[in-house]
Amino acid sequence: MSFIDIRGLKKSFGATTVVHDFDLSVERGEFISFLGPSGCGKTTILRMIAGFESVTAGSIAIAGKEISRLPPAGRDVGMVFQAYALFPNMTVAQNIAFGLRVAKKSAAEIRTRVAEMLDLIKLPALGDRYPYQLSGGQQQRVALARAIAVKPQVLLLDEPLSALDAKIRVSLREEIRSLQKELGITTIFVTHDQEEALSMSDRIVVLADGRTEQIGSPFEVYNWPRTRFVASFVGTLNLLAAEVIDADAGTLRIDGLSVATVGPIRGRVAGDRVTVALRPEAVTLGPAGGDRADLPGTVEEVSFLGAVVRIRVRLGEQTVSIDGFNQPKVALPAKGDDAVLRFAREDLLVLEGDG
């Protein structure tokens, strides 16, 4: 049995269901991200685990104990909120000490633990400051210390970085991750930012409309998206409409051009309309031939983005974006040039669902 076991979790508000039959198993010490656009149900699931939303159906167990009917305090979880939610009338030290004070720990124990936490978040000198005297990043670190000071079994992070500046966001996500590894605390992290989810997580749960689209490691989710939603939400995939020519051989037709992928295409028959995905960085421009698949087209737009050059190529009705590194020695194609798209056959992914 896993450390956290969520089975058939469902949440309805009146007639509208916002979470459908959600299942998830989390191992002890794992860092899991819930990734999805706003309204996908990720925060609702987190709040059901925390105990702020009642569960319509299903079960949540932590360490074998069913908790879905317990009050928040009885669940032994810690939580960090999007907008810090530090108690404004208390100093940093008092905020961190709050859970310990409620638990009636001795003054000496509280002092030691608070000092420990302040060191951990690298703010040892700021114990006597009030929240308003801190920067956003500092406040969120204090919120983190407050949540873990009571040594909860599970740490819940509800978009903790989304209110911060881009630079601090990056440094704090590294800090959170290393802290999590150091403490070995099982963590669930809610975010709508795919880069955060990809860089921090052991596994990512991609959610849309209250349903799980895919669960997998960042590597899996990024490289082998299973559905059109995951493909479009994680990264900037090219999505193309295609028609199956021969499912066993893995041949498809895109805008009248036939192209081969690594067959067979499971569960499809000739004539099926499907969506295929192609990563911009998996495509190059060059002469036809070799073992790579190729598709001829016309250059429609060239954008110079610094390190990366993005070229859009038109194939009949559809366009494909290509990302290549900037190489000053190689001249960029011009608009209207003929071009041939080249990519490895296994990079052309046939997605689940209708095309």
Partner: protein
């Protein structure tokens, strides 16, 4: 995790009872004028009383004058403070809140001392002068509400950008103030105006001590001498207050809707 709502319901029901019972009692009382039956006799008597009409008309005119003076005083000030003198804001705010601290009766007492017939500016010597003084007094009373309402309205629009845009198009200060700023905070001005109206229409202390025939002193006079008419007057006054607050809500809602688009 559902919260028990028994306590909140009880609080709201008790609050509603406290609010409604006196009104019901007043309506009931106002209809008792004819023995043995309920009638609108008291209302007929009150509405037919020429002094009722005169005093109400006087107070309405006075309220309108107060609103005009108040708006002309507060809008340019609040606008100017936001645009050019933000450092002065605490001082101006402090002054506008003074009428909440200094009792009205003290202020009017001061007027009687400062503007009496032996003073340098004997406003109370003439009836017109006293009327003007009364209007200024009401502007003072309304200042906290009027200023806050208009200041909030100004903060909701971007005063600086609007002003600079108008200036770049060649508008002078008067044009900016009356053609750009006023229309943009119309609903805030109206909210403040209706509140001012509600305050002025039944005000007693200023009018009685300056000895002007306003609605408030008339109410008091009827109350001291009659039995059922005061109840009818109270209901009429209540309806007027209701109307003012309702209009504030309407314009407040319009403002909310406008800011969303």
């Amino acid at each position: 995790m559902k919260k028990p709502t028994f306590g909140p319901w009880l609080a709201v029901i008790l609050g509603a009872a406290y609010f409604l019972i006196p009104l019901i009692a007043t309506v009931e009382f106002s209809m008792r004028m004819k023995r043995g039956e309920y009638s609108f006799e008291a209302y007929r008597v009150v509405l037919g009383d020429p002094r009722f009409q005169e005093s109400l008309a006087y107070s309405v005119v006075l309220a309108l004058v107060t609103i005009v003076i108040g708006v002309l005083l507060v809008v340019p000030t609040a606008y100017w403070v936001q645009l050019r003198l933000p450092k002065l804001r605490p001082v101006v705010e402090f002054v506008t809140l003074l009428p909440l601290v200094i009792p009205a009766i003290v202020i009017v007492f001061g007027y009687l001392r400062m503007y009496n017939s032996q003073s340098w500016l004997p406003l109370t010597d003439s009836r017109r002068g006293t009327d003007l003084l009364l209007a200024f007094g009401y502007v003072t009373l309304a200042l906290p509400y009027l200023y806050r309402s208009i200041d909030t309205g100004l903060r909701a629009i971007d005063v600086r950008t609007l002003t600079e845009a108008a200036e770049s198009l060649g508008a002078g200060p008067m044009t900016i103030l009356f053609r750009v700023i006023f229309p943009n905070i119309r609903s805030a001005i109206l909210s403040g105006a209706f509140l001012t109206f509600a305050i002025v229409i039944g005000e007693f202390t200023f009018a009685a001590l300056l000895d002007r025939p306003a609605f408030g002193p008339y109410l008091q006079l009827v109350g001291a001498n009659r039995a059922y008419e005061p109840a009818a007057l109270a209901i009429i006054a209540f309806v007027v207050t209701w109307a003012c607050m309702g209009l504030i809500q309407v314009f407040g809602a319009a403002r909310g809707a406008a800011s969303k688009t």
